[in-house]
């Protein structure tokens, strides 16, 4: 195992533990660590919204802007001051969340294969975010702006891009004019627009994007930012004066940390660090990593063109085209480069029902590494083997809790690439094939390796999403559990409770009529 793999495994283990610990108070839907991208976008919308107000009311002029921002903070503190503080604190929060998002995706190895595009398009966004944030501090044109502008110019001057040092623009008070303010506004509006465009590209190849976190997370995040704005309003430092060096300043370490770093080291070291880390991030996908899973395969003869795989694919790997041999019908087409190999499409396909009488179950879209036919054969073999008073089938995601050790004479375990690849009809098929109960174990909410497997599975089994489990299936005989790789004990406990509950049910109270595919009629 390489050093990088060992480091990443260690980091991911720690991060996952923290993430799961936060599930206790938050639950999966509200857990901020599971929705960092959505929270980042939400913070960005706060920045944009407050920024629009500030831009509308600020006086445009290098001296006037300092006065008008001061007026907002001191005289109109209840509106303009709060919005200014929200603008600043949301920007700081965005930086924090963005770096956590980057760290999390690295921890979980999400930088190669079908995620390569999102990874590569995400890296430039870090530069844009810092450029936008640092430029924002300059607009106030206080002493912090002066320090940052000069330090940035001196840093840029180390690169051979200007014929004259750009720091010469800040030599004396009379060298700054209103045109400088115009340039600042251009930077501080133009760069965020580029950032938003880049974000659009960043999420372009995934579907069902979390553009916003849960309502509860949004309310809580806004509440803490407003609380911060009221308790500790963002204020300007003394006005800029290029004839003096600023004294001790309140310093934003989230956005401006490069300036002290340059002061204690050198521009050469800082640029080496920035370019080095960026190159490293771009090069990560070149490091050895697990081979990609085989892509889903469409069988035109069994594809009805129903669009369900298109609707459920988490990575927009499926498109619909005209069916070549059935006029008026559509056909799913898989882009192998985008396919995660999760099997969620196979679980969504109406042709994946095991009740079909064909000897070989060929579905509309299937996974070569775990075909639906093999899943049915595995289930039928397990049903034939099960003995005992209460026979239970466990369908478990192999990335979640380890269900294998629970296999027994009365319990069969069938592992799945992702719980989302389980066609709901398999639950009914198991119950009508002799099982007393079916336990479906997904990953924790928000913790699915393929983003949506746990959500789609629960929605399908609860009748909220097509293809849904038929309503004739008694809910008492189905147990749904969201369990991560660290939840083996929980899975065992839930299985034991489920078994006890099943044994307490009146005999044949809600049993479905048996179904034998091999017989010519329903038995």
């Amino acid at each position: 195992m390489s050093f990088h793999t060992a480091l990443r495994n260690g980091a991911s283990s720690v991060f996952l533990r923290i993430e799961e610990a936060l599930d206790v108070p938050f639950g999966g839907t509200d857990n901020p660590l599971r929705h960092l991208g959505a929270i980042g976008l939400y913070l960005l919308w706060i920045i944009v919204g407050t920024g629009l107000y500030l831009y509308a009311v600020l006086d445009t002029g290098i001296d006037a802007v300092y006065q008008s921002i001061g007026y907002l903070s001191l005289e109109q503190w209840y509106l303009g001051g709060v919005l200014r503080s929200l603008h600043r604190y949301a920007a700081d929060g965005f930086m924090l969340v963005m770096m956590l998002h980057l760290f999390r995706e690295w921890c979980y190895g999400r930088y190669h294969g079908f995620r390569l595009y999102s990874w590569m398009t995400g890296i430039p966004l870090i530069w844009l975010a810092y450029a936008a944030g640092i430029g924002g501090y300059w607009i106030v044109w206080d002493q912090l702006a002066q320090l940052s502008a000069i330090a940035t110019a001196e840093l840029l001057d180390w690169l051979p891009i200007f014929s004259e040092p750009s720091a010469r623009n800040f030599m004396s008070p009379d060298s700054i004019s209103d045109r400088f303010f115009t340039m600042l506004v251009f930077i501080h509006i133009g760069v965020p627009l580029l950032l938003i465009l880049g974000l659009w590209a960043h999420v372009h190849r995934i579907s069902h994007v979390d553009y916003l976190p849960s309502r509860r997370a949004m309310v809580a995040t806004l509440a803490i930012l407003i609380g911060l704005a009221l308790l500790k309003p963002a204020l300007s430092n003394p006005p800029a004066n290029l004839a003096t060096v600023p004294g001790a300043l309140d310093f934003d370490w989230f956005l401006l940390f490069l300036h002290p770093l340059t002061d204690v080291s050198s521009p050469a070291l800082v640029w080496s660090l920035l370019f080095g880390v960026t190159a490293l991030l771009f090069a990560l996908p070149l490091l050895p990593h697990p081979r990609p899973q085989p892509a889903a395969v469409v069988d035109p003869a069994n594809c009805t063109g129903c669009d369900r795989c298109l609707a459920d694919c988490p990575y927009a790997a499926i498109a619909m085209t005209q069916h070549s041999s059935r006029p008026g019908f559509r056909l799913a087409v898989v882009d192998a480069d985008l396919c995660a190999g999760c099997g969620i499409c196979a679980g969504s396909c109406p042709s994946s029902t095991p009740f079909r009488r064909r000897e070989a179950l060929v579905t509309g879209i299937d996974m070569p590494q775990q075909p639906v036919n093999a899943l049915r054969e595995q289930l039928e073999a397990a049903l034939a083997r099960l003995e005992g008073r209460t026979r239970i089938i466990i369908f478990a995601c192999t990335r979640g809790a380890e269900a294998g050790p629970l296999a027994a004479v009365d319990t069969a375990v069938i592992g799945l690439i992702c719980a989302g690849m389980l066609p709901p009809a398999f639950v009914e098929y198991a119950l009508r094939g002799g099982a007393d109960g079916v336990l479906v174990a997904t990953c924790r909410s928000g913790g699915c390796e393929f983003r949506l497997g746990d959500l789609w599975t629960s929605q399908r089994l609860l009748g909220q999403r097509e293809p849904h489990l038929r309503r004739t299936v008694p809910p008492s005989r189905l147990q749904l559990l969201a369990a991560s790789a660290h939840d083996d004990r929980t899975l065992a406990e839930v299985l034991a409770e489920f078994r006890t509950r099943l044994e307490a049910l009146p005999v044949a109270s809600d049993r479905l009529p048996p179904y034998l595919r091999s017989a010519s009629h329903h038995a």
Binding site: L22, V24, P25, F26, G27, D30, P32, R88, Y89, D92, G93, L96, L147, A151, E154, D157, S163, E164, P165, A167, R168, M171, S172, A220, T221, A223, I224, L225, G227, L228, L231, K232, A234, L242, A243, T244, V245, P246, G247, A248, L249, D250, F251, D252, W253, F254, H259, P260, D263
Partner: protein, 165 residues
């Protein structure tokens, strides 16, 4: 419905998030240079000289009438030699090269020097034609720097060459 313990947990964790943002958005304070120090910024952007040759009448006669420039000037500019002394001690010596692929652009320098506030003797010498011996411009002056003051050393031929501001 959230359990009370979950609500308490969320309040604590959101509070911690707010505390981290609120704290490091302004703290610790940062001071770029000590309070008893001033800054001298040496910032010069200047075209080095070039040696022009006067064309002879014979040469001019051979040229088309519209191109009879009396001087034949090379495109390349001279390097610039710059020296700065503080209180008699050399603190900076450099030779600036002209920018541009043909070495026909300005030569520039931008350097910061942190010096103790107070009275100092500052001497700057500049030679913008290295083919000729000696310095063409010299500025030697007793200066008094207040704490945190920024003093700029610049060059402008219209202001008599080197000047302190």
């Amino acid at each position: 419905m959230l359990k009370p313990a979950a609500i308490v947990g969320q309040v604590i964790l959101y509070g911690a998030f707010a505390a981290v943002i609120g704290t490091f958005a302004t703290w610790p304070k940062y001071q770029q240079i000590p309070s008893d120090v001033a800054l001298i910024k040496l910032s010069i952007s200047h075209l080095g000289e070039r040696e022009c040759r006067k064309r002879t009448p014979e040469e001019l006669a051979k040229m088309p009438p519209n191109m009879r420039a009396p001087l034949d000037c090379p495109r390349e500019r001279s390097d610039i030699r710059l020296e700065m002394d503080l209180d008699g001690e050399p603190i900076f010596r450099t030779v600036l090269h002209p920018t541009g692929l043909y070495k026909d652009g300005v030569s520039t320098v931008y350097k910061r020097f942190e010096v103790a506030a107070g009275s100092h003797r500052l001497t700057v010498r500049m030679d913008d034609n290295l083919d000729k011996p000696g310095f063409d411009y010299v500025k030697d002056e007793q200066i008094t720097l207040a704490p945190a003051q920024v003093m700029v050393v610049d060059f402008n031929p219209d202001r008599g060459g080197l000047f302190f501001k």
